[in-house]
């Protein structure tokens, strides 16, 4: 297991390098430059000023040298100055905003796992009855409807029609409810669907029949025998779930005005803020890869049949 972990961690290096390279190439191979950004309110600069700026930011060097410099600095945690927020370094911005996004994402994931598993159990136990249909339709809604659309419905329902929660902001815990729930609904739907089908499969197996035959009550059978085994495949879902919550959080953050990292996703990209784009993509990629590794390792722990 240790060998496997080290092997996977080592693979992280070329993967991140490749991601950085692809992002770098996409940025530089497309027409346009950060000096005449397509973003709004851009200043038209004189050619001399552009040349000076390019020199200051190292944009006049050949591409391979720029990439090499970037990698060298990034290893030391230095992502450079933001092109758009000129007074701040990329690291400063991320240190401030990433924890907020992480917090929102963790809350959403917790809701998604708890709610999804509960819905899945209910649906599987009451298979093909009204509970099942309710759970499945809720899950389908969460899976198929984009979260910014859900956000609109949530605000209309829970802020306007029934004024329970504020429409946005990030001051008090009351502000956390709507964004976290909105962000959770998609993953919740996926987990519920998966738990249901996995439970249904396990319920039909021989050892469950044995458990019932020896006279166990329904509740311990479901909670101990079925759930334990049914949840194993559900754990694999958590990897992609992190990705869904991560990208989803941009939309949710912007609608509910949460001061997280998501805002910089797009601002940096439309503004051609090269250092910011690289940092965001890499942090995101590294985070996802690490989470996937954690998920895979957990998988091995809870299912003793899996050996690495």
């Amino acid at each position: 297991m240790l060998r496997y972990t080290v092997y996977r961690l080592l693979w992280l290096v070329p993967t991140l390098l490749a991601m950085a390279l692809v992002t770098f190439l996409v940025m530089h191979a497309t027409p346009g430059s950060p000096l005449d950004p397509v973003a709004q309110d851009a200043n038209p600069l004189s050619p001399e000023a552009q040349k000076n700026l390019a020199e200051a930011y190292g944009l006049d060097k050949p591409l391979y040298e720029q990439f090499g410099l970037f990698v060298g600095k990034a290893i030391r945690g230095d992502f450079g100055q933001s092109f758009v927020y000129k007074t701040r370094t990329v690291s400063e911005i991320l240190v401030e905003t990433f924890p907020i996004s992480l917090f929102l994402g963790s809350m959403a994931l917790a809701i998604a796992v708890a709610g999804g598993v509960a819905l899945g159990i209910l649906a599987a136990v009451y298979q093909n009855r009204s509970w099942d249909y309710l759970c499945v339709s809720l899950a389908t809604l969460g899976v198929s409807v984009p979260n910014f659309v859900l956000a609109v419905f949530m605000i209309v329902l829970f802020s306007f029609v029934i004024p329970l929660f504020p429409t946005g902001g990030w001051g008090s815990p009351r502000d956390w409810v709507l964004p976290a729930v909105t962000l959770a609904l998609g993953p919740l739907g996926i987990i519920a669907r998966f738990t249901r089908s996995s439970m249904v499969e396990v319920i039909r197996s021989d050892y469950i029949r044995t458990a019932r035959a020896k006279g166990l009550a329904e509740q311990p059978v479901v909670l101990k025998h079925v759930l334990k085994n049914a949840l194993i495949p559900v754990v694999t879902l958590l990897g992609p779930m992190f990705a869904a919550v991560g990208t989803g959080s941009f939309f949710v953050e912007s609608i509910f005005r949460v001061p997280g990292m998501g805002r910089f996703f797009v601002l940096s990209m439309t503004g051609r803020d090269y250092p910011m784009i690289m940092a965001v993509v890499l942090i995101y990629g590294a985070f996802l890869a690490l989470m996937n590794l954690v998920v895979d390792l957990t998988y091995g722990v809870i299912d003793p049949r899996i050996r690495y």
Binding site: T15, A18, M19, V22, T23, V26, M27, T30, G32, V38, T140, L141, V143, S144, V145, P146, F148, V149, A151, V152, F153, I155, V156, F160, T167, E201, R204, S205, R209, A243, G246, T247, F250, F251, S254, I255, F265, V266, M269, T270, R272, I277, V281, Y284, G285, L288, A289
Partner: protein, 311 residues
């Protein structure tokens, strides 16, 4: 319980691959070849949700095609005398900040959504399937290189990458096709490759090889038809995903260029006025939700129909 046991038994026997083989066992006789699809069609028709979803999709396609005839007003022409009007008899869904009819804009928005959904999938299939076929069939160094590349692409969250490509290329319909095509082929390539890997060891392919079939013939006549079912399922789910991507891109302003309307763009532009002019945001949101749900129901139906064992 007695009924459920055989069902769980069959699910153990190589899911997915047995159905195509049945269809391929005698490629010469058309009767057997078409029966898989005929059975699937029968199963699909019996699924009420899928039929409802399919009909809604059909309706949306008709709206998209005949938008010019259905829309009561122009989608671009401003009418400054009547801005921000709530839904009324003149304007069933109200007017926006330039006095344009929301209903007409949504009708044209359907055109964008359908175009992106179908068009992007064509591109994705045209890139992904050949790569998957080549990678799976040739194997060796080509396969290794392609799978590594696919793995790296897979590490990117697709939406993040699409946003990146779009903001670099600039907004516009053509660029949306490029961005989705460029990022979306990965999954279908993986899927095709996996199918090819299992199919090419099958006896009927070996038989074809023994009879002297060339690579091209083996792939097009024997392997591709077998791999078709999962590809079709993947595409039916890819369409709503592409529609979602377009809506998301337009929502943040890097998708469709105004004045061409798109549902996502309408939601994005008006979400800050949600309290004052809720209808500007809510109706396009409903349109997106209904479209996505219809495609999901239809897709679920198609999957269950083509591969009844998966349910």
């Amino acid at each position: 319980m007695a009924l459920s046991t055989p069902a769980s038994d069959t699910s153990l026997s190589t899911p997915g691959s047995s159905a195509p083989i049945g269809a391929l066992a005698s490629p010469g006789t058309e009767l057997r070849g078409s029966s898989l699809w005929r059975d699937a069609w029968r199963r699909l028709i019996r699924n009420k949700l899928a039929v409802a979803g399919g009909l809604t999709v059909l309706l949306l396609c008709l709206v998209a095609v005949f938008a010019d005839f259905i829309a009561p007003y122009s989608y671009t022409k401003p009418n400054f005398g009547r801005i921000y009007e709530f839904p009324s008899r003149d304007f069933p869904l109200g007017t926006d900040q330039l006095g344009r009819d929301v209903l007409s804009r949504m009708i044209y928005g359907a055109r964008v959504s359908m175009l992106v959904g179908l068009g992007a999938q064509v591109i994705v299939v045209l890139i992904g399937v050949p790569i998957g076929l080549i990678s799976g069939f040739l194997g060796g160094r080509v396969d290794l290189f392609l799978t590594r590349f696919v793995d790296v692409m897979y590490a990117f969250p697709q939406l993040l990458f699409v946003i990146l490509v779009m903001s670099m290329l600039g907004a516009g319909l053509t660029n949306i096709f490029i961005a989705i095509g460029f990022t979306g082929w990965v999954r279908i390539a993986r899927l095709t490759r996996a199918q090819v890997l299992s199919l090419k060891e099958m006896e009927f392919v070996e038989g074809a090889r023994a009879l002297g079939a060339g690579v091209f013939r083996q792939v097009t006549r024997h392997i591709l038809p077998g791999a078709l079912t999962p590809i079709v399922v993947c595409v039916t789910f890819g369409i709503p995903e592409a529609i979602f991507t377009e809506a998301a891109l337009s929502f943040i302003g890097v998708g469709i260029n105004p004045p061409t309307p798109s549902w996502g763009q309408m939601v994005g532009e008006n979400q800050q006025f949600l309290r004052s002019y809720w209808y500007l945001c809510v109706f396009p949101s409903i349109a997106i939700a209904v479209t996505m749900l219809s495609f999901t129901f239809f897709g679920d139906g198609v999957r269950d129909a083509l591969d009844p064992k998966m349910k």
